[in-house]
């Protein structure tokens, strides 16, 4: 069955990033409807009813997040568009921003109207130079057509939107670190609570949303929450962009309903495994989500089903590894990433991740010592739950999940000083 694309419906059109192309595709009609037909309160209810959950990794219900923002009209509030995509295995937000920036802008304006924010910021990953250019051009054009600025479409609602470029730090995708960075500081996460919806940028209520989350909003407003809620699974509604990479024949972004079986995504959409090999392991939602194995291929790709098998939907970044992959090597690479990106604020994460890399490295190099697997597990216990932000927990997931499923490979490495996969 082919699924009618919603979020990626424009990206393959010529000049899809241009405002005129977007307008021809019913662009900014949802904004008009939001401003003229609905009250902010009604919009919040619509998004709640749609069941939309955040697409940046945490999966928090979007409407609920909106309802946490104080209603007082005299309180300064902000909306931030999180374009700091950096979770290994994830490449969907970059696509949306480069090829369909207006859908994200429209979602941002509607969101700002719903919570009464008059100032919004795009925080974009410093490496996304093309994205920065596309954002800036799209925002200029939106101003020129009256979708941004004073008295938007004659509604009396004002909103300013500007771009802020990050400078290379994975942690700034974490919402409170993002706010610190927007304020011109080191991107070190803040303790939560208070949550940004109450105390955020400059101490004011702030909504931070992922790009893909915002791109859903115009469709919910235009076609209604009931239409939206019938897409996907029961508590995981709507479409999702799955990014498939690794040992597949056709890596790429595939938009499908939440709840699509992992097997279908890998074999029907991404073309199956290269050289028709077998699947050994799959990371379902970006580097920080626990690894699964070939046994889990029938899992439905939604929040609940993945939690039930001990993993997470995360960003929907699916990394596929074939039968010849060295699990220790893959785990080492993922862990090295987290060790590098640890901001250094919390000792268990700063020191623990580095120590984890050291031990994994020696196992990989054939210098593993007896007891190293338990040593590694002990380290993970020391990091997990002992850090300000989720990076600590994320950093131990590759190790914990790979030992859970492939412990014998670690033992083989230690005992034989080489990999079972290459023997």
């Amino acid at each position: 069955m082919t699924f009618e694309k919603i979020l990626l419906r424009n990206v393959d059109l010529p000049n899809s990033e241009k405002i005129d192309v977007y307008l021809e595709r019913r662009g900014y009609q949802a904004l008009r409807k939001a401003l003229y037909v609905h009250t902010p309160e009604a919009l919040i209810n619509m998004v709640r009813k749609s069941g939309l959950r955040g697409r940046g990794g945490a999966g928090f219900p979007t409407g609920l997040k909106w309802s946490f923002v104080p209603k007082d009209s005299d309180v300064t509030k902000y909306v931030c568009v999180n374009t700091d995509e950096g979770e290994p295995g994830t490449f969907k937000d970059r696509l949306l921003v480069e090829r369909d920036p207006h859908s994200v802008i429209e979602g941002t304006i509607i969101t700002s109207y719903a919570v009464g924010a008059h100032r919004a910021f795009v925080y974009i990953r410093g490496e996304f130079f093309m994205g920065v250019k596309r954002w800036m051009k799209a925002i200029d054009d939106a101003y020129a057509r009256g979708f941004l600025g004073k008295d938007i479409l004659g509604s009396g609602f004002d909103l300013d939107l500007s771009v802020h470029r990050g400078a290379g730090a994975y942690i700034c995708g974490e919402e409170t670190a993002l706010l610190e960075s927007l304020e011109g500081k080191r991107g070190e996460p803040r303790p939560k609570p208070p949550y940004p919806a109450q105390v955020g940028l400059y101490g004011q209520p702030t909504l931070v949303h992922n790009v893909e989350t915002l791109a859903n909003i115009p469709h919910i407003v235009l076609r209604g929450p009931e239409w939206y809620a019938q897409i996907g699974a029961e508590n995981s509604t709507g479409p999702k962009i799955f990014c498939v990479s690794g040992h597949v024949k056709r890596p790429g972004n595939y938009e499908l309903p939440l709840g699509t079986p992992l097997r279908e995504i890998i074999y029907d959409h991404a073309g199956g495994i290269r050289d028709d090999k077998e699947v050994k392991a799959v990371i379902p939602g970006g580097a920080s989500t626990p690894m699964l194995t070939a046994e889990h291929l029938d899992v439905s790709m939604d929040f609940e089903s993945l939690a039930a098998v001990g993993s997470m939907l995360g960003t929907g970044g699916i990394i596929v590894m074939d039968e010849d992959t060295c699990i220790v090597d893959a785990t080492l690479r993922l862990t090295r990433f987290f060790a590098h990106e640890s901001c250094g604020k919390c000792t268990p994460c700063r020191v623990g991740t580095q120590r984890l890399v050291d031990i994994l490295q020696r196992i990989e190099d054939g210098r593993g010592q007896e007891g190293d697997v338990d040593r590694v597990l002990g380290l993970c216990q020391g990091i997990m739950g002992h850090t300000f932000c989720a990076l600590g927990d994320a950093a131990v997931n590759p190790t914990l999940s790979s030992i859970k499923h492939f412990r014998e490979e670690y033992e083989y490495h230690i005992e034989h000083q080489r990999c079972i996969a290459s023997s």
Partner: protein, 157 residues
């Protein structure tokens, strides 16, 4: 923040100091562009303009990987060595090839200060790996042959 302070979250705009501080990353990008890297002088000038201490400017700059405290080559080559690029095959081959071609190791700059070679983690292009970045340009589906032509082109050969 204790609850009593939450009570009086005022309807306020950022202070002038907060607004100025928020310009720091942008100002550092400009300084880096003008000076080639964030030398002490560049950081000093930036700090003065924003009325913050040199220590503060340095502390922030050093947090972010795109800010360079040391002088680098005119072209900074960043090869992605994330898991997806590794699995797709060719990321290591690419690094080895560039090392051989330029006669430098990862982290080094060529003696003519034209190229610096770095490895980075995930450029959010896992579907078109292996990938590399040179200054602000992203290059996808890379091979040693493509890298060879690209580097020759940049070197004006």
């Amino acid at each position: 923040m204790p609850p009593e302070e939450l009570e009086d979250v005022p309807s306020r705009s950022p202070t002038e100091e907060q607004t100025r501080r928020s310009m720091l990353l942008t100002a550092l990008y400009i300084a880096q562009e003008q000076y080639g890297y964030l030398s002490e002088e560049a950081l000093q000038r930036t700090a003065e303009r924003l009325n913050i201490s040199l220590k503060d400017a340095y502390s922030t700059a050093s947090f972010y990987s795109l800010f360079q405290i040391q002088p680098l080559g005119r072209y900074v080559i960043q090869v992605c060595e994330g898991l997806s690029c590794h699995l797709a095959g060719g990321a290591e081959r690419l690094v080895e090839y560039i090392q051989r071609k330029l006669g430098i190791e990862v982290g080094q700059t060529t003696p003519d200060r034209l190229f610096t070679l770095q490895t980075v983690q995930c450029l959010a292009s896992c579907g078109t790996s292996p990938t590399l970045r040179i200054n602000d340009e992203l290059y996808e589906d890379m091979t040693p042959e493509k890298a060879d032509r690209l580097l020759d082109q940049l070197a004006g050969r």
